[in-house]
């Protein structure tokens, strides 16, 4: 089973070679960017059990940071004091985006984990709203609703050995590398001691605390990693779409990420990928079916409910269970097998 993910990566890497229609490549790229964001959300939602409706804030902060550093900016921090930055290379801007969102994640983690459950849901939602309103109203920095445009694409290398990630095949590989990197980081983390502590937290917080697990420390660690990866996804988005405005904080983007995680199977590494592929492709399939736009949304909603309703654990655990009951004589103890496989 170990080599299958790598086969999958190899299969995906071949896509730009035979997929000549850039529309499909575009759909795959955008889906891929959201899958990266969904994987990072899964770390919080699936492994620590915290339902964050604020994840798009990290995505958006990453997008804005990378855009601003690559474009340069000037702001008055006091009436007579101007702070500015000249345009920096895009790779540097993207790294900064990852760091900045990581730091924001640290701060938010420290603050918001004072509350749990439904309260945490709303605090995270409030966080997005505040960030969005700052992006909208701090016009000097973000240009507000007028949007930051003409954002440069990523270029790497020197002189004649420069690769530009403007065209889709090149960008596809960039997205794929970022996705693989994020996957490896998340996989390493959840299989480490820290990851087991997080799962213990999710399963029974008071028990975990009584065993001496420092709850906040692990939650903050998860938030920092999760935020940084979401920031990376945002930075990819900003240098791909090449415009960023406060619409980046639209609630529908958070919804998209949550749909990807929950339908795919939260708390499984493959879940966000499977859910992401399904819900990244479904809207385009519906579009191709030429039905009324409202009807496309209605079908989308029905499909979402149907998946959650019939596979409440998500697609990946259901598939796994089906496999396990086929192969194993201990068909009844499929949960045990599932647990074993997760390790």
């Amino acid at each position: 089973m170990r080599f299958i993910p790598w086969l999958l990566v190899a299969a995906l890497a071949s896509v730009p070679l035979w997929m000549t229609d850039y529309y499909y490549l575009h759909v795959l790229i955008v889906t891929g960017i959201f899958i990266i964001a969904a994987m990072s959300l899964n770390l919080l939602l699936g492994y620590t059990g915290q339902l964050s409706l604020g994840h798009v804030a990290f995505f958006g902060i990453g997008a804005y940071t990378s855009a601003l550093i690559s474009l340069g900016f000037k702001v008055h921090i006091a009436p007579d004091t101007v702070v500015g930055l000249s345009p920096k290379p895009v790779w540097f801007a993207m790294l900064c985006a990852v760091f900045v969102t990581g730091i924001v994640g640290y701060g938010i983690g420290k603050l918001s984990f004072r509350v749990r459950g439904a309260y945490f849901v709303i605090v995270s939602l409030s966080f997005v709203s505040v960030v969005q309103l700052i992006a909208l109203n701090w016009v000097e920095l973000t240009q507000g609703a007028m949007a930051l445009n003409s954002i440069p694409p990523l270029t790497l290398g020197f002189g004649e050995y420069t690769i530009s990630f403007l065209r889709k095949p090149q960008f596809f590989y960039l997205m794929l590398s970022a996705a693989v990197l994020s996957y490896i980081i998340i996989a390493r983390l959840v299989n480490s001691r820290a990851g087991r502590a997080m799962i213990a937290l999710r399963e029974n917080e008071s028990l975990a605390t009584s065993l001496g697990i420092d709850v906040t420390r692990y939650l903050v660690l998860a938030t920092v990693v999760s935020a940084a990866i979401a920031g990376l996804a945002g930075a990819l988005y900003t240098h791909y779409i090449r415009i960023v405005d406060p619409n980046i904080f639209l609630f529908i983007y958070t919804v998209t990420m949550i749909i990807m995680v929950v339908t795919g199977g939260k708390g499984t590494l493959a879940g966000p990928i499977v859910g992401g592929v399904v819900f990244g492709v479904v809207p385009e399939v519906l579009r191709a079916m030429k039905i009324a736009p409202e009807m496309q949304w209605i079908v989308y909603g029905v499909l979402m409910i149907a998946i959650v309703y019939f596979l409440p654990q998500g697609i990946v655990p259901a598939v796994r269970r089906a496999f396990a009951s086929h192969r194993s004589v201990f068909a009844g103890s499929s949960t045990l097998i599932e647990k074993a496989e997760e390790q």
């Binding site: 939602l45 339902l51 702001v75 008055h76 921090i77 006091a78 603050l111 004072r114 509350v115 749990r116 459950g117 439904a118 309260y119 945490f120 849901v121 709303i122 605090v123 939602l125 409030s126 966080f127 709203s129 505040v130 309103l133 700052i134 909208l136 109203n137 701090w138 016009v139 000097e140 920095l141 609630f251 919804v255 949550i258 749909i259 929950v262 339908t263 939260k266 009324a292 409202e294 009807m295 949304w297 209605i298 989308y300 909603g301 029905v302 979402m304 409910i305 959650v308 309703y309 409440p312």
Partner: protein, 308 residues
């Protein structure tokens, strides 16, 4: 005081503004507060007590408003009777949602039920657009067009009517929960479902009833505010956002809390927009939420053990 980070903030000197403007702001805040409180109490039952992150709340609000439009403008039903009918239809739709979508997921995680509610929200909103198109509709009301004047401040009769009905509904809900057998069963169910079941409470019915009552209140808010504002498919989104803010400010599951939360939100928005910057008007509620939860994580009114 000047916050350097937020360059667009402008703190206008309070003394420069005259008293009449301040009075108008206060009056506006009181009227708006009643509205927010009404939005909040329906949600506090479902989100606060049942712990369902109810994204259909805004759509039930829109449903109430569309009912009002259909009844008053298309079928010519009496304005006041239409409100009652909209509430009844809202309760039916709520019961339907609970029975079809939620009853099987009663033991599921908060995010599973939330996703189902998000799906229902997408379906409902687009169904509204499908049936009525995206064009805004308006509902005529029987009140005089000229406002009710209090010295330098004024308010429309329609909004006074909405305010009064909202207070009546809030009081009614409070009595229902605290003074009736059904209310007792509701409280018991959501504090400890297993014990309640042992004591003979029919958990399934209580869940359905609670969701239906919450939905009916959301529809009432829509039916009351539809004529004040305009009726359009996206109207529910903003209403839901305000309702969540109100519920959290007041503390989950508390009707008096939601009422006070509604007024706090209205005052913060009105005075924030009047004296700080209208650009941040809609941020006021969220800033308050973050502040309050950091200082007092259970909200203003909920008891400690309610924490999720």
């Amino acid at each position: 005081m000047r916050l350097p980070v937020f360059a667009p903030f402008q703190f206008n000197a309070l003394e420069r503004r005259d008293l009449s403007e301040f009075l108008q702001h206060l009056l506006n805040a009181v009227i708006l507060g009643g509205t927010y409180a009404l939005l909040g109490i329906g949600l506090t039952l479902i989100f606060g007590i049942m712990r369902v992150v109810n994204f259909t709340h805004g759509e039930l609000y829109a449903f109430g408003a569309y009912c009002m439009y259909a009844l008053v403008m298309r079928l010519g039903v009496n304005f006041y009777l239409s409100l009652l009918l909209a509430m009844a239809l809202g309760a039916l739709l709520g019961a339907f949602i609970e029975l079809v979508l939620l009853s099987r997921l009663r033991r599921a995680d908060i995010d599973t039920t939330m996703l189902v509610m998000i799906g229902a929200w997408i379906i409902m909103q687009n169904t509204e657009q499908w049936i009525w198109s995206g064009v805004a509709l308006s509902v005529k009301n029987p009140f005089p067009a000229n406002p009710l004047v209090f010295g330098p401040a004024s308010v429309s009769w329609l909004r006074v009517y909405v305010f009064v009905v909202a207070l009546l509904l809030i009081a009614g809900t409070y009595l229902l929960i605290n003074r009736t057998k059904l209310g007792k069963a509701m409280r018991a169910t959501f504090q400890d479902p297993d014990t309640a079941a042992l004591m003979g409470v029919r958990i399934g019915r209580i869940n359905t009833a609670t969701f239906a009552i919450g939905s009916s209140l959301a529809a009432a808010a829509g039916a009351l505010l539809g004529p004040v504002f305009v009726v359009q498919p996206a109207m529910g989104d903003l209403a839901a956002a305000k309702a969540f803010a109100v519920v959290i400010l007041g503390g989950l599951g508390s009707v008096p809390g939601a009422t006070v939360g509604g007024f706090i939100l209205a005052f913060a928005e009105e005075l924030g927009a009047g004296y700080i910057s209208s650009g941040y008007r809609d941020a006021m509620g969220f800033v308050l939420i973050i502040l309050i939860l950091l200082i007092r994580p259970t909200g203003l009114f909920a008891r400690k053990e309610r924490i999720g």
